[in-house]
């Protein structure tokens, strides 16, 4: 660091500066001197020296200027000197601070290679668990419906035929029972029976309406059982979310609006929806609900060029069944079908998760292989 050869040691008079212009000229010389020194390659020691030279309390340049220029300045020049000095001071301080960051980082970089962190090595990996994917999807759906006023309720998985069938307008020998092959429990002699494993979450509709008067707005997540032989798309246990809304003024338009809202929240705003008339004993009108294929964007053509394997080129994927609650159901829970109306739906969660995440085997959900679980943190 060269010794400071600058005008600050002399007074303005000695320097022959008598006008504001001449003062400004002097200051610009000092600034140039500082810029020159600060621009040099610095290490922590030379930076410290630079700082001392310029901001040292006793004989730093800034102090000298204050003592030699400002204090003795004539009243006409005092204002100009003061302004220029403040500008210089701000510049010196900010430059020194900036240079300090450079100097420190340079110093850290210069540390020997053995101390340097190898970014390609892993950190200390503490094992972290995962939410089951089905649980994640449940949670997401619950949150969507919760945000539009649906409460969450649960019900038993071991049910009576009354709740699982009769009260849902599915009397014995109804053809729909053939589509819901049912597990029954073996009961001890004399026990009241029969008991079955619910084939859908719909019994909880009945249990809820028995307990509450309208308005009712609930969703029911849970396990359901159908006696199907297991394969890639069938499991004899799977998951549903039932939805039910009953009030004095719920219409089909409210129903489609609700489903539409849910699907756009779940799959994204760009997804298209459609309703096809269908049949379920406990809803009327009943619908099947489709969304535009989320894999091919509803084009029917896979990215690779061929027919989309997920929608088989149809551009649509059948998602779930739903409809307006059949008035006959209200009869079972002592609601007046002339005064209330509502809708119900049953969403298959496993299928939804398979669609959303491209899973091709439903069994993977229940094998619980940790390599599978870790894929969905």
């Amino acid at each position: 660091m060269p010794t400071v050869d600058n005008p600050a040691g002399k007074t303005l008079a000695e320097l022959g500066a008598a006008s504001p212009d001449e003062v400004a000229q002097l200051f610009s010389e000092v600034r140039a001197l500082f810029d020159n020194q600060a621009a040099k390659q610095l290490d922590p020691a030379t930076w410290e020296a630079l700082k001392q030279v310029w901001t040292g309390r006793k004989s730093g340049v800034l102090t000298l200027i204050t003592d030699n220029w400002l204090k003795p300045a004539t009243p006409e020049l005092k204002r100009a000197v003061g302004q220029e000095l403040n500008k210089l001071k701000a510049q010196v301080e900010s430059t020194l601070e900036a240079r300090k960051r450079d100097v420190e980082s340079l110093a850290e970089h210069a540390a020997s290679a053995k101390d340097r962190a190898d970014l390609s090595l892993p950190g200390v990996l503490r094992p972290v668990g995962t939410h089951h994917l089905i649980r994640q999807v449940f949670q997401e759906i619950e949150d969507i419906f919760f945000s539009i006023g649906f409460s969450v309720v649960e019900g038993p998985e071991i049910e009576t035929p009354y709740y699982n069938f009769e009260a849902l307008n599915i009397p014995e020998f109804h053809p729909v029972r053939d589509d819901m092959d049912t597990f029954y429990l073996e009961l001890p002699k004399g026990a009241p029976g029969p008991l079955l494993l619910r084939t859908h979450t719909s019994p909880v509709q009945i249990r809820t309406m028995e307990k509450r008067q309208p308005p009712v707005r609930v969703i029911v997540p849970g396990k359901v059982y159908r006696r199907d032989n297991p394969d890639a798309t069938h499991s004899f246990m799977f998951h549903q979310i039932e939805g039910l809304a009953v009030d004095s003024d719920i219409t089909f338009c409210d129903f489609t609006g609700t489903i539409d809202y849910f699907v756009k929240q779940f799959f994204g705003e760009s997804v298209k929806t459609r309703f096809r008339p269908s049949y379920f004993p406990f809803t009327e009108p009943s619908v099947e609900f489709d969304v535009s294929c989320v894999f091919c964007g509803g084009s029917g053509t896979a990215k690779s060029g061929g027919t989309c394997g997920k929608c088989k080129g149809s551009r649509w994927i059948e998602l779930f069944g739903a409809g307006m609650v059949d008035p006959a159901v209200y009869g079972f829970v002592n609601y007046d079908p002339k005064k209330v109306s509502g809708f119900a739906f049953g969403i298959g969660i496993d299928r939804l998760a398979m669609l959303k995440y491209g899973i091709d085997d439903i069994q993977a959900f229940f094998q619980n292989d940790v390599r599978f679980l870790r894929q969905f943190p």
Binding site: E157, P215, P277, D369
Partner: protein, 698 residues
């Protein structure tokens, strides 16, 4: 059902391609599985829902199309030439003894037919519909079934004894060999068609004919049966017999009783056309089940109340008319089109047993009008939404376990009884399935442990050695024959607690890991009390029973090392740790503890730690040490912790060395050296006195 496009043209004048028709059908309630363009033109594969048996025939599908496109439906009015000399009534008698099972029975007789292969057009139609051709008369009955949706049966007239037909209930245990050659045992719920005044069974009504009276190439005279059977009786019978046929599907869902005579006439017409012969004049028609058509009123007010948007009069009336409901405006505002007060009186068509209420008409109009004409909107909410009562407790627990490295699993509760019994408490009654798919899935799990152990087994068998899992699920038991489902948390772990890595040495998961992790979740509910003992499935040396809240509360679970006896059944070759907790109690305490939790000001003065190294007899517990120190009642003792534990070198046999770390802290002032020495001295003498512990220099 396979619907041939060309066949439909006999009922409606179609000008649009099959693809468009299929699409329009799909959007008005007929599910379409696909379209095939084969040798006989386009064939639409329609999946008819169980409430619409009227669509199980070309006529029914054509009626749907006529409603969708507002096209006229051509009438079905077969007019076969009848004999001028011989009457059917002279050739056969019919009696229905079970009118509750058989609501109508018609019979026609055609004499002098020639049984031969069917002409190409008939074969092609049947082939397009997926039905094999047999001979002209049998093919005709199949053709009429597909065309009009009504099942028929043809008998070899000459093989019917006595020509006196009786329809009665089968007798219990009565047997009949059906057309397919199988001898079937019947029960009294089954309608039986018999000859010889009811003595011999010749067909299971509405399901399948008997083998003895079948049409063959030597048949000369044919009796056409076209009847109507009660849907519930037929469904019951098909389930009892495990026999499903085209006929049983239609009768089981509800055929059109009015169609029976028409279909019979159509059949006779085609027989005369293709097999020749002479149709005896008239028809035997026994019709005890005839009912007057039901009137149904539809109001616009109700339509709006359900659908939320309107359909103009013109469309509403056109749709209902095309579907056969013959709507008539009956309200006082009849002159005003689209009046909000409009009401229509409709007549239920005989083929639509499913549509008998106002709501059914609402659906009919809406589905044909098009569901996309009802604009979606979000309903108004009048009540606040609530989560499940245990939502917060369960979420906190789940998050904490996941943070501790456990993966959440979901298992199927069906397990083998033998496995279930490894964990089932002796007093718990198993929930057994009456119709399991296999022995391996014969009972519902009595504990969550059995399926969690199963998940560990799966992972070990698939090369995964370090596993931490938990499940929040249910256990299923019977109590006095009633089902009880209890929410439980099951936790399991095996393998390395810490894997060998760049920075750490490997360490196996052990009992202390399980205990520490459980205590981390127990802290949410006020902390677990661990007590000696536990269930049989745990290793007696490494197990504990857990309680919450006050001493003496019911145990809420158990945790420990899986007993070797049980581990061997799973072929586990490494230590497996398991725990199961009753979530009802955990959740309940969670809310209690949370609601009573209050802020405790942080101490302003520094704490001081002192270590005491004591030799203890094996079997003496840390709890005894802690208790002895706490018994001194020194308020400045804020914590007593076990800091280190050592056995072996420099420790006498039968003893172990325990480093106890005691923290002293005062809320009033910084403690002086003298105070701390005084506390330490009292602790040392207490430990020596109460435990006989010898102290090492700490």
């Amino acid at each position: 059902m396979k619907v041939a496009y060309n066949w439909l043209k006999e009922f409606v004048d179609l000008s649009v391609p099959a693809e468009e028709i299929a699409s329009r059908l799909a959007f008005s309630g007929t599910n379409i599985a696909g379209i095939e363009n084969g040798a006989h033109g386009a064939v639409i594969d329609a999946e008819i829902s169980s409430n619409r048996p009227d669509c199980l025939g070309m006529l029914g599908i054509a009626r749907e199309i006529s409603a969708i496109y507002r096209l006229p439906l051509k009438p079905v009015a077969p007019k076969p030439a009848e004999s001028t000399s011989a009457k059917a009534s002279g050739a056969v008698r019919v009696k229905i003894e079970a009118p509750e099972l058989c609501g109508r029975f018609t019979a026609r007789v055609v004499r002098g037919v020639k049984i031969q292969p069917s002409p190409a057009w008939l074969k092609n139609r049947l082939e397009a519909a997926g039905v094999a051709s047999i001979n002209n008369v049998v093919d005709i009955s199949n053709y009429v079934l597909l065309e009009l949706g009504h099942p028929l049966h043809t008998f070899d007239y000459d093989l019917l004894r006595n020509h006196s037909i009786v329809v009665r209930r089968a007798k219990a245990g009565e047997k009949l060999k059906t057309l397919d050659g199988i001898e079937r045992t019947l029960d009294p719920g089954i309608p039986l068609v018999c000859d010889t005044d009811g003595a011999r069974a010749v067909g299971i009504g509405g399901i399948m004919g008997g083998g003895e009276t079948e049409i063959s190439f030597s048949t000369k005279n044919v009796l056409i049966e076209c009847a109507w059977f009660d849907p519930i009786a037929i469904r019951r019978a098909t389930r009892f017999l495990k026999l499903h046929t085209e006929a049983s599907t239609r009768f089981g869902r509800g055929a059109d009783p009015e169609m029976a005579e028409t279909a019979s006439r159509r059949c006779a017409e085609l027989i005369l056309q293709l097999a020749g012969g002479e149709l005896l004049a008239g028809v035997i028609d026994v019709y005890p089940g005839k009912r007057a058509a039901k009137k149904i009123t539809l109001t616009r007010a109700e339509f709006l109340r359900v659908m939320g948007a309107d359909v103009p009069d013109k469309d509403l009336e056109a749709i209902l008319s095309a579907l056969g409901f013959a709507p008539v405006r009956v309200d006082d505002n009849r002159g005003a089109a689209n009046s909000l007060l409009a009401a229509w009186e409709c007549t239920q068509p005989s083929w639509r047993a499913d549509a008998e209420r106002e709501i059914d008409l609402v659906e009919e109009v809406a589905r044909v009008y098009g569901l996309d004409n009802f604009p979606p909107r979000l309903p108004v909410a009048r009540i606040a939404a609530a989560r499940l009562p245990h939502h917060e407790a369960e979420t906190r627990l789940r998050e904490r376990l996941i943070g501790l490295g456990y993966h959440e699993i979901i298992t199927i509760p069906h397990v083998a009884e033998e496995r279930n019994d490894l964990f089932r408490p002796p007093d718990a009654q198993v929930a057994k399935l009456a119709n399991p798919l296999s022995e391996e899935a014969g009972v519902l799990k009595s504990t969550g442990l059995v399926t969690l152990a199963g998940a560990i087994e799966w992972n070990l068998n698939h090369g995964q050695r370090n596993i931490r899992l938990f499940e929040i699920g249910r256990q299923y038991r019977l109590v006095d024959g009633k089902p009880v489902e209890t929410r439980v948390l099951t936790v399991g772990a095996t393998g390395a607690a810490r894997e060998q890595g760049l920075y750490d040495a490997a360490r196996e998961y052990n009992f202390a890991d399980l205990k520490g992790d459980l205590d981390a979740i127990g802290a949410l509910s006020g902390g677990f009390r661990w007590e000696d003992g536990g269930p049989e499935w745990l290793n007696a040396a490494k197990r504990g029973t857990l309680r919450l809240g006050q001493e003496g509360n019911q145990p809420i679970g158990a945790a420990g090392l899986l007993a070797k006896r049980v581990a061997d059944k799973f072929k586990f070759r490494q230590d497996v740790f398991l725990a199961e907790l009753d979530l009802g109690a955990v959740d309940c305490m969670f809310y209690g503890v949370k609601n009573n939790r209050r802020y405790e000001p942080l101490p302003r003065f520094p704490g001081v730690e002192r270590d005491f190294s004591v030799f203890l007899e094996d079997g003496q517990s840390f709890a005894e040490v802690k208790k002895a120190i706490e018994a001194l009642g020194i308020p400045e003792v804020t914590s007593v912790a076990a800091a280190d534990l050592f056995r072996g070198k420099n420790v006498p046999a039968g003893k172990y060395s325990l480093l106890v770390r005691v923290t002293f802290q005062s809320r009033e002032a910084t403690l002086t050296e003298a105070q701390i020495n005084d506390f330490s001295g009292r602790i040392v003498s207490a430990l020596e006195k109460t435990l006989g512990a010898s102290l090492r220099a700490a």
